[in-house]
């Protein structure tokens, strides 16, 4: 399981823009059946457009036993196919049992790990690791500190805007990744809102989150789109869509573009992004293709443009 480690070259700000942009598939944040997960990852293994695949349960420790075997199998298959495989850790870690999960992932040899909580940083210190979007990195000194702990990549937090990303990306010696497709993580809680919505207690949740493999939509009393619930996690209703910012992100030195899995043709999404990043299509065409793959879904991208996250700037901004 050594592939993917040691081969990540450390770019400088000047050289980063010239390397070929890579596409990553973020961890599946929803409660998908094991067979669905297996099919998803086996298909990804054969897909050229995707370079990096993140695996692992990030949201709810209760789901871990159901996917453990399938994910181990998928990791092997993906590595054989030449993908860089990364394991993502739990984002909200509240007791020794949760810590046991984080520790098991962090201390396994030969696996690159994405830390989504400070506990993972503690376990991973001195090894190469990735700072995930659930760790708060808002300015350069925090990133530098994690780099001294061993961080080689930062996946930017969702609410960061363009000037903040530009300033952060001046830090040299680390890779930058950003989520460009799929629902954005917005919040975590000890309380399970899925269970609550179904009038169940968290301890006896019957895994109702599995009924909503793309998350459960929450609207306002006026029927406006508001947020989406995924167990203990609150997410954006809109699918984050940053095709219009791709060029600018490349210029800033962001080299990895993360697609967050939804139940749609993620291969087609990845190919659209591949075509965009390789210059075969422009942002407008990319967006039009994405729209066709997820008809009826609202796209949002306000965070990047310094607006409320629920805003959709549309396809014409930021392309100039």
């Amino acid at each position: 399981m050594s592939r993917g480690r040691g081969e990540t070259s450390v770019p400088t700000a000047a050289s980063r823009g010239e390397q070929r942009a890579r596409i990553s598939m973020g961890p599946v944040l929803f409660n998908w059946d094991a067979e669905v997960l297996r099919d998803f990852y086996f298909r990804l293994a054969d897909e050229e457009a995707v370079n990096i695949v993140y695996l692992g349960e990030v949201v709810c420790p209760k789901r871990i036993p159901f996917s453990r075997e399938v994910l181990a199998e998928a990791a092997e298959r993906l590595q054989e196919a030449g993908k860089e495989v990364v394991f993502s850790t739990l984002a909200l870690v509240m007791d020794e049992r949760d810590l046991g999960h984080v520790r098991a992932v962090s201390e396994a040899q030969g696996i690159l790990v994405e830390a989504n909580d400070l506990s993972a940083v503690e376990y991973l210190r001195g090894r190469r690791f990735i700072v995930g979007p659930f760790l708060n990195v808002y300015h350069e000194a925090t990133l530098s500190r994690f780099m001294r702990d061993g961080a080689v990549r930062l996946c930017l937090a969702p609410e960061l805007d363009r000037p903040r990303i530009a300033a952060l990306s001046m830090v040299e010696g680390v890779e930058f990744e950003i989520q460009v497709f799929g629902r954005l993580p917005l919040a975590l809680s000890a309380r399970c809102y899925h269970a609550r919505a179904y009038d169940l207690h968290k301890d006896n949740c019957q895994f109702v989150c599995g009924r909503d493999p793309d998350g459960m939509e929450v609207t306002t009393l006026a029927g406006e789109s508001f947020v989406c619930v995924n167990g203990i996690q609150t997410m954006s209703t809109g699918y984050n869509e940053l095709a219009s910012a791709a060029h600018e992100l490349r210029e800033m030195g962001v080299g990895i573009f993360r697609l967050s899995p939804q139940r749609c043709d993620m291969i087609a999404i990845a190919r659209a992004w591949r075509d965009l990043l390789d210059g075969r299509i422009d942002a407008g065409e990319c967006r039009a293709r994405l729209k066709k793959i997820v008809p009826g879904r609202r796209f949002t991208n306000g965070f990047f443009y310094g607006k409320p996250g629920m805003t959709d700037i549309g396809e014409h901004q930021g392309c100039a």
Binding site: V121, E122, Y138, H139, V218, G309
Partner: protein
């Protein structure tokens, strides 16, 4: 001997102050420590008309120290990339003004404080979301964090286990507004308004709030989005996003949390048994009358606890949101 080393009663009361008047009221009412912030984006209650300029802070610290009360300065937002200077200045000034501790959330800032002001006591803000022993070990060993304010996600048994596993002090919220999300990891406010606790020190900010009439229904909105609709007989609450009423599974409900305030006064003894060092009152946006009443009630309760007397009856019901109190995540059923 510094105030930090002085023998203390075993459960401290840490009180909020957003104005010099509230600060004086907290000292008067029996606070062991008061926390406050500078008047800028460096603290998580960056509201108009609140907080302290440098001179006011100097006077407040002078007053507190003359009464044997400690002062913690909250510098608990996340510095803006490319411009950490206001946050560095806040730490430098906290040290210069002889604050007893700074309350920090950002790792880069914690490191800055440890490096430049090693003698300034460092507490970890709830906004840092350190909810487990490994995270806290990292913070205490690497940056000399002495106290951690625990996120409002843990149950009492989890807090007890945590205190057995770590050596630093813990502080827990006991009264006031209740974040239902893990603090420091919530972008609901910026999702709707573009401004968030982490980046701007605000949540569901007032400049985006509108109340409108729809017949005899009062509608509360945040940046145009309906957060709640109140019938004439319902008390109208501020449209904090996670306290709103929303539609899910074809039902209208308080999905995240009912309108209620955290009130853990009745379980102070359980905090003490769990090894908690200090209880924190939320509410730097509150006036001095509120502060005085809450602090006095907690002072009486803790004094009774120490003396082995039964808790005096609570008289804080009318200060709670919607009149309702909850012990939040401290009880497992809440989840």
């Amino acid at each position: 001997m510094s105030l930090n080393d002085m023998p203390q009663k075993d459960l401290e009361i840490v009180c909020p102050a957003g104005t010099p008047a509230a600060f004086a009221a907290a000292v008067e009412a029996g606070a062991d420590a008061v926390y406050a912030g500078f008047r800028d984006e460096t603290n998580a209650r960056n509201f108009p008309g609140l907080n302290f300029d440098r001179d006011e802070m100097a006077d407040a610290i002078h007053l507190a120290h003359s009464r044997g009360v400690r002062v913690f300065i909250a510098i608990n937002t996340y510095p803006r990339a490319g411009d950490p200077a206001p946050w560095h200045r806040a730490i430098d000034d906290a040290s210069r003004l002889k604050a007893d501790a700074v309350i920090l959330a950002d790792i880069g800032l914690v490191e800055y404080a440890a490096l430049h002001h090693p003698d300034l006591r460092r507490h970890l803000s709830v906004q840092a979301s350190a909810a487990n022993s490994a995270a806290i070990r990292y913070l205490s060993r690497e940056f000399g964090i002495r106290r951690v304010v625990l996120p409002r996600v843990l149950t009492l048994p989890q807090i007890t286990a945590l205190n057995h596993a770590i050596e630093v002090e813990t502080e827990v919220f006991a009264f006031g507004g209740l974040c239902v999300m893990a603090e420091g990891r919530c972008a609901l406010s910026s999702w709707v308004t573009g401004r968030s606790p982490n980046m701007n020190g605000v949540c569901s900010p007032a400049e985006h709030v509108r109340y409108e009439r729809d017949g005899d229904i009062l509608v509360s909105k945040l940046n145009g989005l309906t957060v709640n609709r109140f019938a004439p007989d319902e008390p109208a609450a501020y449209p904090t996003l996670c306290k709103g009423r929303f539609r899910v599974c074809e039902k209208d409900r308080y999905l995240f949390e009912e309108p209620a305030s955290l009130d853990a006064r009745a379980i102070l003894g359980e905090f003490r048994a769990a090894g908690v060092r200090a209880v924190k009152i939320e509410g730097r946006q509150r006036g001095r009358a509120y502060i005085a009443r809450v602090i006095r009630a907690f002072r009486e309760a803790i004094d009774a606890l120490h003396a082995g007397r039964p808790l005096p009856p609570s008289e804080l019901e009318d200060l709670r949101e919607g009149g309702e109190g909850t012990t939040g995540a401290y009880r497992k059923e809440w989840r």
